[in-house]
Symmetry: C2
Subunit: 218 residues, 2 copies
């Protein structure tokens, strides 16, 4: 992403283009960006080309707004700033214990993964994951976590099946070491999966719906 695109995008967002269409001439945008009308016109064409904004080119005044791709780019930058200004060395997210679909157990059981967990996380995982539905107000923190490096658990093949890369993030629940795991290319979700050496449900006497804090290292 070119810097000058995010700069223009941010100004458009500040002028209200993140929620809805805003009527703005290329001259006005140019003034806001400190560039000429001609350059602003070109910038708009570039942003359209990159599918960062959409335009409704009326007879007299064009109206533009960010696309979801545009909003995503902005959020990425916002998260970088949050890491700079809000962070120490960990983030705490709160959520409720939830039933998983039992899939975790199958994956975690694969020797190709377990060996790496031991080497890279420092514990052999209990066979099964604890699923937590993150509270609405903390979901944005998951973005911040995903924007950090994480520990790559390499994928492998076994009996003709392909197991993809998994990213792990070290965490602690009530001072017990554990890790959040997620497929490398996972789409948005408010559910996180926890692996741990212990059976967390039993060790901490957790039931579905129980509130729990997860402290994630960065």
């Amino acid at each position: 992403m070119d810097v000058k695109y995010t700069f223009a995008l941010r100004k458009i967002a500040l002028l209200g283009g993140i929620d809805d269409y805003i009527a703005i001439s290329s001259r006005e945008l140019g003034d806001a960006l400190g560039i000429s009308q001609q350059s602003a016109s070109k910038r708009i064409l570039e942003l359209l080309d990159e599918k960062l904004i959409v335009r409704d080119l009326g007879a007299r005044r064009q109206r533009i707004k960010l696309t979801s791709r545009g909003v995503d780019e902005m959020r990425k930058e916002y998260n970088e700033y949050r890491r700079v200004f809000e962070l120490t060395d960990h983030i705490t997210v709160r959520g409720k214990v939830t039933d998983g679909m039992g899939e975790g157990k199958y994956y975690i059981g694969q020797p190709g993964y377990t060996e790496q967990f031991e080497k890279k996380l420092g514990f052999t995982p209990f066979e099964g994951t604890l699923n937590i539905t993150v509270d609405k107000e903390d979901v944005s923190k998951l973005d911040m976590i995903k924007s950090t490096a994480g520990i790559v658990i390499d994928g492998f093949e076994n009996e003709g099946r392909t197991f993809g890369n998994v990213i792990a993030y070290k965490a602690r629940i009530k001072n017990i070491d554990c890790a959040i795991v997620a497929p490398e290319r996972s789409h948005y979700s408010d559910v996180i999966e926890i692996v741990c050496h212990y059976h967390l449900r039993r060790t901490l006497s957790l039931d579905n719906g129980d509130q729990i804090d997860v402290k994630i290292s960065l």
Copy 2:
């Protein structure tokens, strides 16, 4: 502020240069920024020139960190993002009622100010201000408020004394219209001064130390 400076600044901050010196070669910074070693070296010189970073040029590895001016620039951008992602149309800050130094009363009493308050804020101020010490966790919100336009109350001269410009921000305390006022060029403070048509201390039966929410319009 040139965009490319804030971009470089942000990467340096993310690499830890906001808290302390970080050792980073021009090649490494170039890689982080997606530019050549030569350009990164030039960028560092430009940032030094703008006093956005300071450098400790060791024999083998240079060490750099942001200056307070550099951090301020970053925070300005951070606040723009917060306005985009966190805001609706107001911010609520919480604080404790505090004794002022009686200065507010003298200033607010000046006809040069009161006439403008009436015209620009829609009320004649009670002679005196309510001081609130903002809670530590809400102090950063004051930055966000300062980064918005505010209403300019023009300065004037009276009997040889110069009264400077004042910036007012419309606010509400328990649904009573009021405004935060601050000298145009005020330095950092966690105390805000409130003007109101009513004597807020009496009207709301406030004592020093009482917790109070101030809802500030943006």
